[in-house]
């Protein structure tokens, strides 16, 4: 096993071990359990960063259309009777997402060291006790976050269709548990909606994957991408693409299959929201790009206009709903629908600019929306409500928190120089470059949607930061804790870094993207 292969395994194994270690420890060692989880996440981040350092020199010559050239690759037998191989690898398209996942999980793990949302256990905790019950489930929350990390990183690393599906499913129940146990008042309903909605997506993925695998006779993503759709009939490609696109559209989510997202976000605990928006949604866009477009390029070209129209509809609907939204986390959740619309628009153009925009849009949304959900969580922890009508005057009460919120909001609305700009601007440019009346209209409508984003984020800031001090802040607020600042700092810095140097993401992705969109 080479160093690169060992690092690939380590990126998956450290979170898995951390999760197992944290879950096995007894309740009295809760803090130790959380530390075990954090160290697992930290080691995974180190391993994922080293993947870059150990990458071999780029092979000479341009890649053939569709060719995937992983930096590191590990291909082991697992279950030949199911066409399942443990085939993982990393390249310029998946690498930024792997690092983002590892980073966000670590940040969330650190956050749980300080803050764990209370678990309301019916009548159990209500019994009179001499001391308030200590929090004894933090390690389980941390363990679930790491289990989610295993699934998400596995999805990004998979170079086998069946393995991709297996990892795609791994994420489902841990996220359900995070929402259902640590969530807000309506958590059970939201968690069930999340799990049933996204499971219906992933069962379609199962059918779509095996439709391809049984016809092509292999689940090897490298081979299938290199074949570029050869050997698969047009009808089959179309059927499989529709199934896969539906599956990924639920996960991304693409309008009109998005309705699970606002509920899940509103009820999820802060760390759950961060992971959900930051990286879990990216499984959908990554899958659409790598699996659906990569394996079935002809069908992708035929369906692209439909995807484009839905993506722009998502941008506009997301923006309009946000303008009328009265709850903080719900507003950010709907803004995610709009942002993911830009990412999907970029993918739908199927040209290099659009795909690049989608990749950087993915990363930027992960960083900025992750930060926004942290800030929204911090506000809700102090105000005990997310109703915009109750908030207000944050600038007077907590100037630093208000400043950060303003920073994240303008990054999210796409101010040049911050991370959100590149993805949205270039998605619009890519649609214009695609040419033709339809795409021109889509580009104009998407640009209008971008303006909507400015409108609702400024409205958000006006309601929360400015104005008279709202009733929710009337009693004093505890200041920002060290844990909060430590976990937010990397996101704040990355927002600026990716905004100023987009090559951080795009430099790696240039060659693979060219191969992906080549005909």
């Amino acid at each position: 096993m080479t160093a690169g292969q060992a690092l690939l395994v380590a990126t998956l194994a450290f979170p898995a071990l951390g999760a197992a270690g944290a879950a096995i420890l007894p309740a009295r060692a809760d803090r130790a359990g959380r530390l075990v989880a954090v160290s697992g996440a930290a080691l995974a981040l180190v391993a994922s960063v080293l993947l870059y350092g150990w990458r071999p020199a780029a092979p000479a010559g341009p890649a053939r259309p569709g060719e995937i050239r992983p930096w590191h690759e590990l291909n082991l037998r697992w279950a030949s009777g199911l066409d399942l191989r443990f085939h993982i690898g990393v390249d310029g398209i998946s690498y930024p997402l792997v690092v983002l996942t590892a980073l966000l999980t670590l940040i969330c793990g650190i956050y749980t060291l300080w803050t764990v949302p209370a678990v309301e256990v019916v009548s159990q905790e209500a019994q009179p006790r001499s001391t308030p019950p200590p929090c004894t489930r933090g390690r389980l929350l941390a363990a679930l976050l790491l289990a989610i990390e295993v699934g998400i990183v596995g999805v990004f690393l998979s170079l086998d269709l069946v393995l991709f599906f297996v990892f795609f499913e791994v994420v489902l129940l841990p996220m359900y548990a995070v929402i259902a146990v640590w969530g807000g008042p309506a958590r059970r309903h939201a968690a069930r909606k999340f799990v049933l909605y996204t499971l219906s997506g992933s069962v379609l993925l199962l059918v779509g994957v095996f439709l391809v695998v049984t016809r092509a006779g292999t689940g090897d993503l490298v081979a299938l991408s290199a074949a570029h759709g050869a050997g698969l009939s047009e009808g089959l490609q179309l059927a499989a693409f529709v199934l896969l696109a539906l599956a990924f559209a639920v996960k991304s989510p693409l309008w009109p299959l998005h309705s699970w997202l606002p509920d899940a976000h509103t009820e999820a605990p802060t760390v759950g929201s961060v992971i959900l928006a930051g990286v879990l949604l990216k499984m959908g866009t990554y899958g659409l790009l790598r699996i659906a477009v990569g394996v079935l390029p002809d069908a992708a070209r035929r369906v692209a206009p439909v995807l484009g129209v839905l993506a722009v509809a998502a941008i506009l609907v997301g923006g309009l709903v946000c303008l009328a939204q009265t709850e903080l986390k719900r507003l950010i959740a709907y803004s995610s629908v709009g942002h993911m619309g830009f990412v999907l628009l970029g993918i739908a153009t199927l040209n290099a600019t659009g795909v690049q925009a989608a990749l950087i849009g993915n990363i930027a949304h992960g960083i900025v929306t992750g930060l926004l959900f942290f800030l929204a969580g911090a506000i809700k922890d102090r105000a005990h409500t997310g109703e915009l009508a109750q908030l207000g005057g944050l600038r007077d009460r907590m100037p630093r928190l208000a400043g950060l919120l303003g920073y994240a909001a303008i990054a999210s609305l796409g101010l040049p120089g911050l991370a959100g700009f590149w993805g949205e601007a270039f998605a619009v440019i890519a649609a214009l470059r695609h040419g033709g009346p339809l795409w021109t209209v889509l580009a104009v409508a998407a640009a209008l949607g971008g303006a909507l984003a400015a409108a609702y984020f400024l409205r958000l800031l006006r309601r929360v930061s400015h104005g008279p001090v709202g009733p929710a802040f009337a009693g004093g607020c505890p200041p920002l804790s060290a844990g909060e600042l430590v976990s937010w700092a990397p996101l704040v810095l990355l927002t600026l870094a990716v905004g100023l140097i987009p090559a951080l993401v795009l430099g790696l992705a240039h060659d693979p993207v060219m191969a992906l969109v080549a005909r």
Partner: protein, 477 residues
């Protein structure tokens, strides 16, 4: 007639188990555990014998124009699974059942199941299925002074008798029109020449009668009443071993005997599988009692088990490769399923002790009072829903969908997929109940070592086949 006694060894061992239980009960009446231990030993011996015979060459016996008893690889697999399931059920029964008759009847039923795998003609098959089923009537009624138990047993008895009659009528019609009872000769007779309507009727009647055993729609209504009325270990046996027996019988009849008539049988199986999934899942959504929920879910699971055979409805699925793929998928899913199902029932036994399954709300607080058992319960239920971390169940779902798509039955694959979403809705509800608080003080639930050992063993097997599904796929190939 020259008998190959070696081939019959597993059957002898199984029958010997029943006899041993009877004798031990007679000779050492004071020792409660002795009879359970003797039965457990017998089941182990049966499993060992089946493996030993199965490793050798294919042995045939009771041969005239065809052979009625063939000890091949698949028969050995069926016998081993039956013996091990019975072993687990014996262990689960230790806390609640001390009567010797109970273990004797269990041994008798196991004998039917073990022999079933070896049978190769319609009459032997029916006799084996009846041997499997008859002891279950009294076993379902074994909860003394319980009206539910008696009701369940009577329902079970009536439906069972009717379905046996239907099977026999179908067999008689097939015999009347072809003059053959052995699977090989039936297949040969059906393979050429025109097919009279009597064959069609006979084929459908045989399958319909056997559908009762797997609790497939429309012969499913007995299952929830019988499972809920029976002692929980017996319900576990009904939903795993007894159901497996039905699946094997349907496989043998539909594929081995009526293979050339698949254009008739295939669509019937596709319809039955689809209806079974849908009715089972919708029924389970509304249940408030744990065992009834498991019963309805096991009806839905029967639909998934039969689904790969539904691919035989299409000409594309009826190539030699397609048929063997569908059979392997059905057996594979059935094996994954029985492991997870017995795990779920085992957890119910552990959490409830000797009591009945109770309401779902009765399980509140289980996660704190018995975390390990809850872990096994959750693993099994999630597996039945087909999701990680229940990897065994995930791969079981993959096996079925893959077989259906290879056979060109994409529509049935989508039906299976959508049904599994409905399934998750009630599994999640049941799992949620385990983690709810109930205000009772936290006191650990005490679990006897036989139940704990059985549950641990089942969980271990579930985890192992979850990470190495190829073990099961190779075993059923």
């Amino acid at each position: 007639m020259n008998l190959n006694q070696v081939a019959l060894l597993p059957g002898y061992c199984a029958a010997g188990t029943a006899l041993l239980a009877f004798l031990v009960d007679l000779l050492v009446p004071a020792r409660r555990a002795a009879v359970a231990a003797a039965t457990a030993l017998g089941t182990l011996a049966t499993a060992v014998a089946a493996v030993a015979v199965g490793r050798g060459p294919v042995r045939r016996t009771f041969c005239s124009v065809g052979c009625s008893y063939v000890a091949d690889h698949r028969a050995a697999l069926v016998a081993v699974v039956f013996a091990l399931l019975t072993l687990v059920v014996v262990a689960l029964s230790v806390p609640s059942q001390s009567q010797g008759e109970y273990y004797f009847l269990l041994g008798c039923s196991m004998t039917g199941g073990v022999v079933l795998g070896y049978t190769r003609d319609l009459i032997s098959l029916t006799v084996a299925v009846e041997t499997l089923t008859l002891p279950l009537y009294p076993l379902v009624a074994f909860r003394r002074r319980s009206v539910a138990s008696a009701e369940g047993a009577v329902t079970f008895f009536v439906v069972s008798v009717v379905s046996t009659t239907v099977t026999l009528l179908g067999a008689a019609l097939l015999y009347a029109s072809t003059g053959a009872l052995h699977f090989t000769r039936l297949a040969a007779a059906l393979g050429h020449g025109p097919r009279p309507p009597m064959v069609t009727t006979g084929a459908v009647l045989v399958i319909a009668g056997l559908a009762f055993k797997v609790a497939a729609v429309p012969m499913h209504a007995w299952a929830p009443a019988a499972y809920d009325g029976a002692p929980v270990p017996v319900a576990a046996y009904l939903s795993t071993a007894s159901k497996l027996g039905g699946v094997i019988a349907i496989l043998y009849v539909a594929v081995d005997a009526l293979g050339p008539a698949l254009p008739i049988v295939g669509p019937a199986l596709a319809v039955v599988a689809t209806l079974t999934m849908i009715v089972g899942n919708l029924g389970a959504l509304r249940q408030a009692r744990m065992v009834r929920l498991l019963a309805w879910s096991s009806i839905a699971q029967a639909g998934y088990i039969l689904a790969p055979l539904g691919a035989l409805a299409l000409a594309r699925g009826r190539t030699a490769q397609g048929v063997s793929g569908a059979v392997a998928a059905t057996l594979g899913y059935a094996v994954f399923y029985v492991i997870l199902e017995i795990g779920a029932f085992g957890a119910v036994v552990a959490l409830r002790g000797g009591r009945d399954g109770g309401r779902i709300t009765d399980y509140a607080g289980a996660a704190r009072r018995a975390p390990w058992v809850t872990g096994v319960f959750v693993l099994s239920m999630i597996g039945l829903a087909g999701l990680p971390p229940g990897l065994a169940g995930l791969f079981a779902k993959v096996v079925v969908v893959r077989a259906l798509l290879s056979g060109g039955a994409a529509w049935l694959a989508i039906v299976v997929a959508i049904n599994s979403v409905v399934g998750l809705a009630y599994y999640v509800r049941a799992i949620g109940a385990l983690f709810a608080g109930n205000g009772e003080p936290d006191s650990r639930i005490k679990i006897g070592w036989p139940v704990a050992a059985a549950l641990g063993g089942v969980a271990l097997v579930a985890v192992v086949v979850g990470f190495a599904p190829q073990l099961v796929i190779d075993a059923v190939a």
